[in-house]
Symmetry: C2
DNA sequence: ATTGTATGATTGTCCGACAATTGTTAAGAC
DNA sequence: GTCTTAACAATTGTCGGACAATCATACAAT
């Protein structure tokens, strides 16, 4: 006699969330479209409004629905890259990823991203890159701003690839880089200068559509981060956060 | 008299979710620990149980809490990689990513992952890789199984890197690869043979801890996918899903 | 040691209610 | 006719209470 597989019993709120999710993912409900009122959804699905509301909270946190600012009704939306990446970062942080793991990912992924950006960028992308670099170079005191401008530089590079997969996969790495960068940038005196110099070389290569040079300088840039961690006495095997 | 800045008032259910999230991320609540009962949470936070429940649905969908199978109380948990990746894949699909974008990411990311796996794998990792390859090679008919075994092969490779960042960032790519693979594998007669051959070479190189060869064969493997798409008449610029 | 029974705790779902805010419509002003 | 304003309806956020089903636990029976 074969064993019984456990029955997949889902509570009503989960089933409600599932059917609405399906409608959104299959594009039956399009972005910007307003959802029916909660009472109407409850009537159609034959459940209580409380149950509908629990389901809506799930969709809301998945980024599949949102409230337009200053509005009451929920509208269908596409998950924002920043928030998806935040969830990924949080998951990785809770799984005790180490500085070394993040750095290794950066080492592998950033050079091709820089190369792709060099090949695919537009004038506007380049301008954003230059702006980010200038903001970083112009800020010699505040740690927090320097960190944020560094992140913005990487982010601009990701956007310049015009590849959503690259950009979205890239974003959690940036977010995970920030804490170690924050811990390092004041401990290592030459850090700002080296970051600024690398940014300038990379920007120049991107502007010249020189993918190989952009990639090479990015590789050096990432190596520098590791050197900086070691100079700052950060334990590379320690978890982030 | 200065103007009043608009107060950032969030609904109660969001604030409740925020404070519990904070407790979990700061490790004040540890994994496996049981949350207080809903009524108790409602009492402590001074809100209604319905409000607490809406907040719990958010945490549940974020993977921060879960119900142990066959249990009632919710326990603190760490987001599962598979589910985080599923959210990323869904977000990318809703943002109309194209085959080409996914392929380009694979092209950049898979070779270093293969190289890292070659350097970092254990005996168990290699066994999983071999198993996945054998399952693929032994399945000559069912499309669905072939697709799943291909995905499992990539997944095993990601696990063999022993780098959570690489593995988690890798997973959405695998999930996004599946539909196009499913569409291609039956259209292109030689696809199975070429995938199988590449897997064998890669497995061999990983087993020999030969990172360069593993990377090179993976690069060829990924190029083959693109060739397969073109042979199958898939429009590379068309969105996935 | 396993099976059955009793009891309390907890969740899933429902119902109804109400204040606050938003959306809509009708009346009035120019 | 168009714009403003006032009244009204619709919708959400939150609350309180209710109840059945299920889970946890302790205890008795075989």
């Amino acid at each position: 006699m074969s064993e019984f597989a456990p029955l997949p019993l889902a509570p009503a709120y989960r089933q409600v969330a599932a059917v609405i999710t399906e409608r959104i993912c299959s594009r039956a409900l399009r972005e910007g479209e307003r959802l029916p009122p909660e009472t109407e959804l409850a009537r159609q699905l034959g459940v209580n409004r409380s149950t509908v509301r629990e389901a809506l909270r799930e969709l809301e946190c998945s980024g599949l629905i949102e409230r337009r600012p200053g509005s009451k009704r929920m509208t269908v939306s596409r998950p924002r890259h920043g928030e998806v990446a935040r969830d990924v970062s949080r998951a990785l942080a809770l799984h005790d990823v180490t500085f070394l793991e993040v750095w290794e990912a950066l080492r592998h992924f950033e050079p091709p991203i820089a190369a792709t950006a060099a090949a695919a960028h537009t004038a506007a992308d380049l301008e954003r890159l230059v702006d980010a670099h200038n903001l970083f170079a112009g800020e010699n005191r505040a740690t927090e701003l320097a960190v944020r401008h560094t992140a913005e530089y990487f982010r601009a590079l990701g956007a310049a690839t015009h590849n959503q997969v690259l950009a979205l996969v890239h974003e959690p790495l940036i977010q995970l880089l920030e804490p170690s960068l924050r811990a390092m940038i004041d401990e290592v005196p030459q850090a700002r200068a080296r970051i600024g110099a690398a940014q300038q070389r990379i920007t120049q290569a991107v502007g010249a559509r020189d993918a190989a040079t952009a990639s090479a300088w990015m590789a050096r840039h990432i190596r520098d981060f590791r050197t900086g961690y070691e100079l700052a006495g950060i334990d590379l095997g320690h978890r982030i956060g």
